[in-house]
């Protein structure tokens, strides 16, 4: 077996509670609506609620797949780890490259959106709107230079904070998460009570229904309001008894995010014309909050401030996620352990932080040269997410056949029993439906996203050149897999997760299998 070395073994503490695990996910996925609402409204127009609901249904299926896999394999590697186990090294690399693209976009997109929400205050502070800070650079017109500089400052702060190793306090995360949930709930309830006009929603639906192209584009963008499910795996790694906790917290998380996304879009279309959201793509939730009678004068600025904060935290998950992912990928020989070198003074993965944040900076600058930075970044974000999710579904189906011995504390619903190599396997029908759904969105991304369909595959190709070079240098196969001892790995994972019941079940299943093999021989 090829030996894979890492520069330093990092152990993650397993001390996240049920509530902490839920809040971890919410701080990551819950922030997406703050970005997606304006972007999706701009294209899906009067059908925005429908688009959010359709994308949300696919997201629920993706979430259920992650719940099954994260509770069965509670490791921080997430999607690429499941793909690696199910489909082998090469596809694990493709999944990893897609997720790395998303983490760098995450840094750029959420920092841009965070600055966008800060810009809500600009007319009150300096008496000018962000739209007045534009210039032309050669062939590029209407470049929002001031907004770009703000974003770069935010990313620089993130780099500094992460290299210094200033950890986010879990209490702070929970406090902000609770504040966001209370604010969003209050906006939804007050909005539906005092501002929402069903007839206005119906009017927009009937008269402002988008073209088929815009409907597809809007649908493929709506999926970005649900990106961040990797946090389920990350929480699983740091949770004691994840098999008990993860299904519960992730199911709650999935439905909360879905409900908020559908509620905000339905509320938005019943309060303001969709053009208002498209015009204020940088701070749509604040615009909606401002339009609610009685509380609007206060809720607008409050939602803007909170939006800026939660999006900044979400941007940080991109920096942290890239470090975790490179650690996981290097452990299995997909990339070099060189990435994991820690800073001699601060003991943080400085190389990864700098490299992937710098890529985020390049993406930010380039996106500001296009007509809409948020649109461009969202465009690419959707490509990485849908590609990664498609692979996760395929891996889920494959693992049901190739690894039936690992206990699954939670299984996606709708299974049919089929015979396979002399044993009964639960074939995940909902997994197949989910895979087809997310593959359709990937197809729509490729069809309609002019930037995503070029930049996305170009990124994967660039990563492949590195992957092929590294694997060849180490003497590893490029398209085939290194021999991994998954059984030993699973025993270690379940032991460190303190899942002793599952460990016993797993060992018994393996013993049963070995006994059958001996009998056959």
């Amino acid at each position: 077996m090829a030996q894979v070395q890492t520069t330093e073994k990092l152990e993650l503490r397993r001390d996240v509670s049920v509530w902490g695990s839920y809040m971890w996910g919410f701080a990551d996925v819950g922030a997406d609506t703050y970005v997606a609402l304006g972007l999706v409204m701009a294209y899906a127009q009067g059908a925005a609620s429908l688009v959010f609901a359709l994308a949300g249904i696919i997201y629920i299926m993706i979430g259920l797949a992650y719940t099954e896999l994260a509770s069965a394999y509670p490791v921080a590697g997430g999607g690429p780890y499941f793909t690696l186990r199910g489909l082998g090294d090469f596809w694990g690399f493709v999944g990893g490259a897609a997720l790395l693209l998303d983490y760098t976009i995450d840094i750029a997109l959420f920092a841009t959106a965070s600055a966008g929400y800060l810009n809500f205050f600009m007319p009150y502070i300096i008496g000018r709107d962000i739209g007045s800070f534009v210039l032309s650079i050669g062939p590029f017109h209407q470049v929002h230079y001031f907004w770009c500089i703000e974003t770069l400052i935010l990313i620089s702060i993130l780099i500094w904070v992460n290299i210094r190793g200033v950890k986010e306090s879990s209490f702070l995360n929970e406090f902000i998460g609770v504040l966001v949930i209370i604010t969003e709930s209050a906006l939804v309830i007050m909005g539906f009570l005092f501002a929402w006009k069903p007839e206005f929603l119906a009017h927009q639906w009937k008269t402002q229904f988008p073209t088929f192209h815009n409907f597809m584009y809007g649908s493929s963008l709506a999926i970005i309001s649900f990106v961040g499910l990797e946090s389920i795996s990350q929480a699983a790694q740091e949770t004691r008894r994840p098999a008990t906790i993860i299904p519960r917290t992730s199911l709650t998380l999935i439905f909360t995010v879905f409900i908020f996304a559908v509620a905000f879009s339905t509320l938005g279309l019943g309060v303001l014309p969709w053009q208002e959201f498209a015009k204020h793509m940088d701070n749509p939730i604040a615009i909606l909050a401002k339009a609610i009678p009685l509380i609007g004068f206060m809720a607008g600025p409050f939602a803007a401030g909170l939006g800026a904060l939660i999006l900044f935290i979400s941007s940080n998950t991109g920096v942290m996620g890239a470090s975790r992912l490179t650690y996981s990928l290097s452990k299995f020989g997909i990339i070099s352990p060189w990435f994991n070198a820690v800073h001699p003074k601060f003991r943080t993965p400085a190389r990864t932080i700098i490299i992937f944040s710098m890529i985020g900076i390049v993406e930010t600058v380039l996106s500001f040269l296009t007509p809409s930075a948020i649109d461009t970044l969202g465009n690419m974000y959707a490509f990485g997410a849908t590609l990664g999710y498609t692979l996760v579904f395929i891996a889920l189906i494959k693992l049901r056949f190739s690894d039936p011995y690992t206990p699954r504390p939670y299984k996606m619903p709708l299974n049919i029993k089929i015979g396979y190599k002399g044993r009964k396997v639960d074939f995940p029908l909902l997994g197949v439906i989910g895979m087809l759904g997310v593959a359709t969105i990937l197809f729509m991304v490729v069809l309609t996203h002019t930037i995503g369909r070029i930049a996305g595959p170009a990124w994967i190709l660039l990563c492949f050149i590195y992957y092929a070079w590294y694997r060849k240098k180490e003497g590893y196969p490029i398209f085939k897999s290194i021999k991994h001892n998954w059984e030993k790995e699973q025993i270690e994972v379940l032991t460190s997760a303190e899942e002793y019941d599952l460990l016993e079940q797993y060992k018994n299943a393996l013993a049963e299998r070995d006994k059958k093999r001996v009998q056959i021989k």
Partner: protein, 73 residues
Amino acid sequence: MRIFSMNSPKNLTRLDYYQIITSILMTFLGGIILLKALFSGIFILTFLVGGGFLGLGIYRLSFIYRFLKGRKN
């Protein structure tokens, strides 16, 4: 979907309290949306949203009712 922690049924966690509150709010909101939709003409989307909130709220509240009843017994 299990909405309560089954390993310690006598103690409600923070997540349980959160789910109880949101279930009540969902039922209330669903009712408000349906009422408003009824008074402003028939439009399928508004009924779907209102009905969705109300249905999900009642479904979740049924778990709470069964849980509390089970605990009392």
